[in-house]
């Protein structure tokens, strides 16, 4: 077959796959500009004659005392704090496992890798009960603390530290009389930074997208992240007589909840891709 035909065929297939990916996002953008009446009465894939973004924004942010603004803020809080602290803990732990020998090191390592296989299901219900006992349910810390246990992050950072931070550099810092933590901070950190950025991003995205854990642990609307809040609104759509149906709020809210990630993605893709692949490629 001629090269030109192969290229066209390839491009056609790739474009088709791209359409599959983009159609819902395109639909989300278009639909967010329609109010409830327009949603049911205009063509699904075309913008309405009169854009209702203004009314929709107003409705979204004023419904139920501005709960949506809380959800947006909360998602940022959960994601940023979890990613920052989680990366710090994972880096510290991974570096410790990689650069030092101590009793039980292999045990810890085994725990980390083994825990990767345990599905979250087995933990959420008893975690809820445990947190209730500790008074942590329905709090920010209650959601963040469990998420700081990030076995993948520890594993990633331990391999990364072993490979990237030369023992000689660490030894010479020690000779100079620097404490271990100081060594990590001054020598290790700059070297580990790309890995830390990757981990931060993966953790941020994972937390932003998390639904099950906050669903179970949180009871007050103003503490919900976007995932739990929007799904709560969506669940009223099928209930008869639940006040005015929240189609526009749910659609515009969904769009806003994916915007931060979508906007950052061209910049993040490189880091994230490397991080995701790491787990697969490491050990080869």
């Amino acid at each position: 077959m001629a090269r030109g035909v192969k290229t066209s065929a390839t491009t056609a297939f790739l474009a088709l796959a791209a359409a599959y990916v983009l159609v819902p996002i395109y639909w989300l953008v278009i639909s967010s500009s329609k109010n409830a009446v327009q949603l049911f009465n205009t063509n699904t894939f075309l913008p309405p004659a009169k854009l209702s973004w203004g009314a929709n924004f107003h409705g979204l942010f004023t419904y139920e005392n501005g709960d949506f603004a809380w959800w947006l803020l909360n998602s940022f809080i959960y994601s940023t704090v979890t990613a920052t602290l989680g990366t710090a803990v994972s880096t510290l732990t991974g570096y410790g496992l990689a650069k030092y020998s101590f009793r039980g090191r292999r045990v810890v390592f085994g725990l980390v890798v083994g825990s990767l296989m345990v599905p979250a299901t087995a933990l959420v219900v008893p975690l809820f009960l445990l947190e209730h006992y500790m008074g942590l349910t329905n709090t920010y810390q209650g959601v963040i603390l469990p998420l700081l246990v990030y076995p993948f992050g520890v594993y990633f950072m331990s391999i990364f530290s072993a490979d990237a931070v030369p023992d000689t550099l660490v030894d010479s810092a020690r000779m100079d009389g620097a404490s271990e933590l100081r060594t990590l901070w001054q020598i290790g950190r700059p070297i580990l930074m790309p890995g830390m950025v990757t981990l931060f991003l993966l953790s941020f995205i994972g937390t932003w997208n998390n639904y099950f854990l906050p669903l179970v642990l949180l009871g007050t609307e103003t503490r919900f992240p976007l995932t739990v809040g929007l799904s709560a609104w969506a669940s009223t759509l099928n209930v008869a007589g639940a006040g005015q149906p929240l189609y526009s709020e749910v659609i515009l809210g969904s769009l806003i909840s994916v915007l931060p990630m979508l906007v950052l993605f061209p910049f993040l893709q490189k880091y994230v891709a490397r991080g995701l692949t790491f787990g697969a490629v490491a050990g080869e």
């Binding site: 819902p24 989300l28 063509n43 732990t93 219900v125 994916v258 990630m261 490397r274 697969a280």
Partner: protein
Amino acid sequence: MAARAAGPAGRLAVPALPRTSAESGAAQRRRRWRASQGRSGFGMTAPFLALFAVFFAGPLIYSIVLSFRSPLTGNFTGLLNYRTVFSNGAYWSGVERMAYFGVIQVTVMIGLAIGLALLLDSPYCRGRKVFALVYFLPYAVPGVIAAIMWGFLLEPDLDVALKVPHLVGIASGPLQPLSYRWALYAIMLIVTWEWTGYNMTILITSLTNVPAQVLEAAKVDGASEVQVAAKIKLPMVRRTVIFTIVLSIIGTLQLFNEPVILNDIASIGSNLTPNQIIYNTAFSFGNEELAAAQSVILALITVIATVAFFAVVRRRMEPLQATRAVAK
């Protein structure tokens, strides 16, 4: 609790350690020095271990303890809850349904991911960076939001495209992907949409590790692009493919977000997946003990499925090692 970014359940790659030596005076000093280093190292892992103990090991152990308690009295009751799970038809229907789901959806998704990765890696691809980015976009979308979006798109009242087959005369009414008969396939569509790009991204990054000289050699030998893809590239990323399949298997058995949201929007059923059943048992029936037993069994099924898959695949991997050694 993290997203599906997890490490391989394969070989432990433990970093090498300095060796101990004979006990001279200098060696004694070194040993004491190393002990203090060891303490620092342990100190560094302490925060993680504390969190791990409280928020991971604790719930896990508590889960197992709960599963042996009676829901009514709270006393130890042996295997009662486990016997209940084994006699619960709905739970095993859920597991069976997920097996069916996994066989179809994981195959289609990984197949698509491999296909896209190979196409992007081929010389016939134009606009590789743009396509790669586009396919990766769904990773930015939370599962529940994806389910909401698709829940609307698959609703005939909201999506004119579903009415087209009826208008054209092929179907007797508007398509109803969220009806009882088709709901599971609708979920497959959504999950594939969400994760194909993620898996493809992992594969394509792996493909960049294929040594250039091997590809050159193949081209010199006159191999077509398709042959190169099938016989050289694909086998070289076999380990990555296995990794993505394992992650997908684990994810399938844990399916929760999408069926729950779709059930809220379109009443597709509240007992479709084992995780939904566990959630209902714990929070609707208030029966945490039974839910714990159900969770433990699900965890075991997941581990068994993963290990079984590895066993099957490992046996097929031995001859490949030789080829790769030569290639390197």
